[in-house]
């Protein structure tokens, strides 16, 4: 579903991704793990079409990144990105207009369970609720690829559980889900595969079951070992 071949991305003199190659299949939840500045967000932004690469080939569903891939990719950034001029119902309308795979009833149900009034202004919502609205919008799509960049960053443990539950209950099971996070112990239980990335390079790409069987340790423990300071 996702192919990255010899991808290179530089910011001036700093190399964010160096000769990165990987393939991600459908029907898998993949954890993109690495220390700060390792290139996780850079990779996700490239796949979402927000960054261009210096070298390499990136394809989603055998197509280069562009309008066609954006149609099937549901992206959640690590920052607030919805216009604060709108109300929640305006955001729902916008997603409905632009994305054919958006399910309005699922979004409204999730918002209702969170006690978020769709007539609320985005600007009046707390940071946590704003992030939940963003997550609800993204997970209400029947996309082929979900790119979630630090979906649990800066939220309390109860909210993290809600986010994980939302991801598991609402994603398209035939899709590829790529989650970038630092909170490995929280997310490990839902991951099928993990990618360790360091200094823009792929260090490990393995299934979680194999790590547990062969390394006899959790992903969190292996991460601490690989990235020990």
């Amino acid at each position: 579903m996702i192919q990255c071949e010899h991808v290179k991305k530089e910011y001036g003199r700093k190399t964010a991704l160096a000769d990165f190659s990987a393939e991600f299949e459908t029907g898998k939840i993949i954890g993109l793990l690495g220390p700060n500045g390792s290139g996780k967000t850079t990779l996700i932004k490239i796949l979402a079409g927000l960054l261009t690469t210096e070298e390499g080939v990136v394809r989603i569903d055998k197509k280069p990144i562009g309008v066609d891939t954006k149609r099937i990719v549901s992206y959640l950034p690590e920052r607030p990105y919805l216009s604060s001029a709108f109300r929640v119902k305006d955001i729902i309308r916008t997603f409905e207009e632009f994305y054919e795979d958006f399910d309005k009833s699922v979004a409204e149900q999730m918002l209702q369970s969170l006690h978020i009034d769709t007539k609320s202004r985005i600007a009046s919502l707390s940071k946590g609720n704003r992030e939940k609205v963003q997550l609800v919008m993204v997970m209400s799509r029947r996309a082929k690829v979900y790119l979630l960049d630090e979906p649990m960053g800066g939220v309390d443990p109860a909210a993290r559980d809600f986010i994980l539950k939302t991801i598991l209950n609402n994603y398209n099971e035939e899709a590829c889900v790529l989650i970038s996070t630092h909170l490995i112990s929280d997310v490990e239980k839902i991951l099928d595969e993990v990618i360790f990335i360091k200094d823009g390079e792929l260090v490990l790409h393995e299934s979680v079951d194999r790590i547990r069987e062969e390394e006899k340790k959790s992903v969190d423990a292996l991460f601490r070992e690989v990235f020990a300071c």
Binding site: L50, L51, T52, Y75, P77, S83
Partner: protein, 281 residues
């Protein structure tokens, strides 16, 4: 999809402009009421002062509406396409050129609407519903009407052309290589604007040179000034009004074409940067 984007941009902007126009309307209404009271009770000094103050506030508000509209529309491009909201806009399944055209079209329309609202507010605030331009149009002949229309087109085109300069500058500044922060990108955008402005002036001078060449012969041949004066003198005579009108039509037409082409060129630069060199912070 372009229609949906225009609808989206209109919804955002209408929330801002709706409030602004409402305030303008209220201020103009207050000035109108005070003016009417002043005319009926012109011996009451307080009413005279009240009307003068209200009229000054109304005029200041009118200037603020025009300037504020231009600043808002330019800032919206930056905030909605190149800062945090750009994470949403650039992940929509639409090509970059549609994102650009939607901003340019809606920005131009709202600035024109702001100008109309200010004119109406002026008329209301002064209780004078007479428009000199309508008299000019009514009294003009066919040739003069043509010039007025061409001048109107040139003035209208200057709005998207000016916007496209700012959009191109922001697109260059915000997509420059490197992981600069927002302040660095704004500084780069200002630098880009300077270069864009210089480019626009150079194109303007070349266009003027070509226009003079067409009217008066090559600008590189000697006695250019004498040739220009000679051409102007031929239009100064009684009965040569048609030639002068023709000259003005050509001038307005040339300005309009130049403005349009600059608008397109800056648009191409902005779209190219956003589609090939997007570098969201």
């Amino acid at each position: 999809m372009l229609g949906k984007l225009i609808g989206y941009d209109n919804r955002i902007q209408s929330k801002f402009f709706g409030g602004v126009y409402a305030v303008m309307g209220v201020l103009a209404g207050i000035a109108a009421v005070l003016k009417a009271l002043n005319e009926h009770f012109n011996h009451v000094i307080v009413l005279q002062y009240a009307y003068q103050i209200a009229w000054v506030i109304c005029r200041a508000a009118a200037i603020a509406v025009i300037v504020g509209s231009i600043i808002y529309v330019i800032a919206l491009f930056r905030n909605n396409l190149l800062k945090d909201e750009g994470y949403f806009m650039h992940t929509l399944p639409v090509p970059a050129w549609q994102l650009y055209v939607s901003k340019l079209v809606t920005g131009t329309v709202w600035i024109v609407v702001s100008i109309v609202v200010v004119i109406l507010a002026y008329m209301l605030g002064s209780l004078d519903f007479h428009l000199p331009i309508l008299e000019i149009l009514r009294d003009s002949g066919v040739e003069e009407l043509k010039i007025v229309w061409l001048a109107g087109i040139a003035i209208f085109l200057s709005i998207p052309a000016a916007l496209s300069q700012f959009y191109a500058s922001f697109s260059i500044g915000y997509t420059w290589e490197g992981k600069g922060n927002s302040r660095d990108r704004d500084i780069l955008s200002v630098v880009a604007l300077i270069f864009v402005y210089i480019a626009q002036q150079i194109v303007g001078m070349i266009t003027l040179g070509l226009f003079i060449t067409f009217q008066c012969g090559s600008i590189f041949k000697p006695h250019l000034l004498e040739r220009v004066i000679a051409v102007l003198n031929t239009m100064d005579h009684v009965g040569e009004g048609t030639k002068f009108n023709e000259y003005l039509c050509h001038l307005m037409g040339t300005v309009s074409v130049e403005t349009f082409l600059l608008c397109v060129a800056f648009g191409v630069v902005a779209v190219w940067r956003m589609s090939r060199h997007l570098n969201m912070e």
